[in-house]
């Protein structure tokens, strides 16, 4: 049994993580923006990343919602989301992607800049996400100590709240942030934006260690800069969730012109990542 047992802390998504850990491996989280290369294509992508080519891929899919001012994102995701917006993606398309992920038996979550939730209506967003089968929202630019409305809505509709911690966070902020989360906490492994990196960060084990010391009851995910099975195995040896984003987006190299070919590459990467987390703790 993993150390994570309190259902109130784990919510829906943390319970999945605990189940993976009970199987002896960390959870694999795949990020992909809805609407890229097109809305329909992205629905195929999120299903494929769950299945891989052997029926084994991501446990949780983080559906990104394209935003006009993505200040946390590096070029790969910026370019994809800019194209998605040019092609007419809407916020409500995220709920279609949530349903697509759920249809394949994986756990859908949404990652979004906060203004999109506020424009949709905070309560309405939580309600519709929950109705579509979504487990929760990752909010990279929402300070946990300044969002009472989100606590209310996420509690009312039973969706998880995942906030971020960073290498620069004080112990006090890490504790406060983790206390605010339900599900798991997202730890940035580097000071920087999203993107593929050649090497995993030395700061990753340190931040996981600090998070464990602050609150041992909540799983810790590591994101930013994991791009292949080898890195996933390395990060997964100490993190409870391994989060991959830009590398998956990069498999769509044809920008929609050759979806069949790109989906093969995506499934292969998904296989590689799934194998990585599988051997992470063996």
């Amino acid at each position: 049994m993993s150390q994570f047992t309190d259902p109130k802390r784990l919510g829906k998504s943390g319970a999945i993580v605990a189940r993976c850990l009970d199987e002896g491996r960390p959870a694999l989280v795949a990020y992909f923006p809805v609407g890229y290369p097109s809305v329909d294509d992205s629905l195929e992508v999120v299903k494929a990343v769950v299945e891989g080519s052997q029926g084994r891929g991501a446990d949780i899919v983080e559906i990104g919602i394209p935003y006009s001012d993505p200040l946390m994102d590096g070029l790969v995701i910026q370019h994809a989301t800019t194209r998605a917006r040019e092609r007419g993606v809407r916020v409500s398309d995220a709920f279609r992607a949530v349903e697509a992920v759920a249809s394949k038996g994986a756990t859908p979550m949404v990652m979004t800049y906060w203004n999109l939730v506020e424009a949709y209506g905070v309560d309405a967003f939580a309600r519709d996400l929950s109705a579509a089968g979504g487990a929760g929202i990752i909010t990279p630019d929402l300070p946990p100590d300044d969002c009472p409305e989100w606590f209310e809505a996420s509690d009312a509709h039973d969706v998880d709240r995942v906030f971020l911690i960073a290498p620069s966070s004080t112990d006090e902020r890490i504790r406060m942030t983790m206390e605010s989360c339900r599900g798991w906490v997202y730890a940035s492994s580097v000071m920087g934006v999203t993107g593929v990196r050649d090497k995993t960060s030395d700061a990753a084990p340190v931040i996981v260690e600090r998070a464990r010391a602050a609150d041992p009851t909540l799983p810790v995910g590591i994101g930013l800069g994991v791009s292949n099975g080898e890195q996933a195995a390395e990060i997964g040896s100490f993190a409870d969730l391994v989060i991959v984003g830009s590398a998956l987006v990069k498999t769509m190299g044809s920008d929609g012109r050759d979806m069949a070919g790109d989906l093969v590459k995506l499934r292969e990467l998904s296989d590689d990542l799934a194998a990585g987390v599988e051997r992470a703790r063996r």
Partner: protein
Amino acid sequence: MSLPDSRGHFGRYGGRFVPEALQAALNELIAAFDDAWADPQFHADLAKLQRDYAGRPTPITVAESLSQHAGNARILLKREDLNHTGAHKVNNVLGQALLTKRMGKTRVIAETGAGQHGVATATAAALLGLECRVYMGELDTQRQSVNVARMQLLGAEVYAVAAGSRTLKDAMNEAMRDWVTTVDNTHYLIGTVGGPHPFPYLVRELQRVISVEARQQMLDDHGALPDYVAACVGGGSNAIGMFYEFIGDEGVGLYGFEAGGDGIESGRHAATINAGTPGVLHGARTYLLQDEDGQTIESHSISAGLDYPGVGPEHAHLADSGRAVYEPVSDDEAMAAFKLLTQTEGIIPAIESAHAVAGALRLGRRIAEEDPQATPSILVCLSGRGDKDVDTAFSYFGLAGEPDVTVGAFE
């Protein structure tokens, strides 16, 4: 209660909606600024730079001839255009550059629209020996190539941002991305009263010198407080600096003039308070131009410095509370005022500042219609000079840059 509160709220606006990685840097900045602001030596250093380097205090000019066009109003101009680098921006950058040194950081980054804040930042960096990189929307680097060259002459690197709408808001995104990666040695020198707490507060405190001087000058040299104070509002730093000391003077009307572009009904404008809705952008809750999904809508203005789809959160609060009034001024109105001020007073204003002049003229005429007996005084913040805008004026007025007459040639 003085605003903002400890978490940076001005009423329901403001806050710190930024990635966690930046929260520590913002806390460091709050601590450093509070410490500096309580230190008489810091104030002395800043005052010395303001006087001996920037040229403060700036005078108030009575615009007698211009006033002929303002009903029965008397227009006075607070001459921020006479600052070194040609605008009020220097007030802020000198303070933040001193603060950067005090924090032990060696590098500053900045965003810029028209290039005025970029030039001011590059200037302060040159003066104080800081490394400097300025992010500027690619479209703006094309519109304002002279300012790109000025920054480069001053030793700064200029990065054109080709993402998104390729304007000021995208430059701000890119500067935030730089900062999140380099925060150990870098200070993000924001140019306006926007962004996450403490910037709206910190920049206001540094721009407050405008109204501290102006209020005293009005009492000393003109016998009374003005009836109205007017300023242009993009992000709103000159306006907050101009308004601040007058907020407690209930008899003084505060008017902010936003860029109305082609007119609000055209959809091509930057009148955030007049035509926007509350939301979160660049770290703060404030009024912004957004579509029904919450995606930022691109703004439009003939003035690159007002071409921004958000506004400082304290202005949002002043608007909601009714203490200040915000009205749009169209491109055409601003350019007419630009020409009028130039030809009646011999002052070429920045097109940004021309919005304030146009608004003041309209206000004066409106009062004359409503109350023909009234002879109000309107103090306008002339935030910058217009040398940078000669190209825009050229194309707007259809000038060719050719002489009127050539004489002395052989037959």
